[in-house]
């Protein structure tokens, strides 16, 4: 996930802001990390370079 798409991401449930925490990043993009919705108190993972913005209580 490139940092420049952060501005178009939101919580899929409340549409609120997400806070980014990076665990692994290369010169191109974020590979592993977490996007947190503080309002919903939910963490959405970034895994293998892809942000997963599926509702976390119902996804597999």
């Amino acid at each position: 996930m490139r940092r420049k798409i952060l501005d178009i991401l939101c919580c899929p449930v409340c549409k609120g802001d997400l806070t980014l925490s990076v665990a692994e990043e290369n010169e191109k993009e974020i590979i592993e990390g977490v996007l947190t919705c503080n309002a919903c108190r939910v963490d959405y993972p970034i895994h293998d370079g892809i942000p997963n913005l599926l509702p976390q209580n119902t996804c597999e």
């Binding site: 490139r2 798409i5 501005d7 991401l9 939101c10 959405y44 892809i50 942000p51 913005l53």
Partner: protein, 187 residues
């Protein structure tokens, strides 16, 4: 992630028809959102012609495939995890009428299964797309005669879009359509 190509929709006639329409529709300054990008084929081809392309995909195998093409892909349902507005939204939805007993229960189903009417995902899309569509923005939506052209344009009208058919092509017993949608009125 090791992704399984058998779980990703392979570009087919519908893909090529939608890409053809999108190439004509896209303008260099457009910010484009592709919903359900699948393999990422259309997004990858359009990237050269516009300012920005972002794609969503619910199927993890397809999302991984699109990322391998260098697409900015977000794993989410339709546009649930996306905000901001886009000048052009492109969607090749699951449009096949599918009875519960016909469901196959794999990831490919998300590319195909339009519910009993074939219009369930399209209706959800049209009901929410206004949130991410820029003023004056356009939508290109691919459907089939199996989905029902009058039914889909009817839903679009109820959601306050003008609809016009910009491409059509007969493919093995069905007719594919690309519909161009714009908001009614000045908004």
């Amino acid at each position: 992630m090791e992704h399984d190509p058998a779980q990703v929709y392979t570009p087919a006639d519908d893909t090529f028809l939608l890409l053809d329409a999108a190439r004509q529709e896209a303008r260099p300054r457009d910010s484009v959102l592709e919903i359900g990008t699948g393999s990422g084929y259309i997004a990858g081809e359009l990237r050269k012609a516009v300012r920005r392309v972002v794609a969503t995909e619910i199927n993890p195998h397809a999302a991984a495939s699109a990322r391998e093409q260098g697409i900015d892909v977000i794993r989410t349902d339709l546009f649930a995890g996306v905000r901001g507005t886009f000048d052009l939204i492109i969607f090749n939805p699951p449009y096949l009428p599918t009875a519960p007993e016909e469901r196959i229960g794999d990831w490919l189903e998300y590319a195909l299964d339009g519910g009993i009417s074939g219009r369930e995902v399209i209706a959800r899309f049209l009901s929410g797309a206004g949130r991410v569509l820029a003023p004056g923005g356009r939508i290109l939506l691919l459907i089939s005669s199996l989905t029902g052209l009058p039914n889909v344009t009817g839903i679009a009208f109820e959601e306050k879009y003008y609809a016009e058919v910009v491409r059509d092509q007969v493919v093995e017993g069905e007719r594919l359509y690309v519909i161009r949608l714009k908001r009614n009125g000045k908004s």
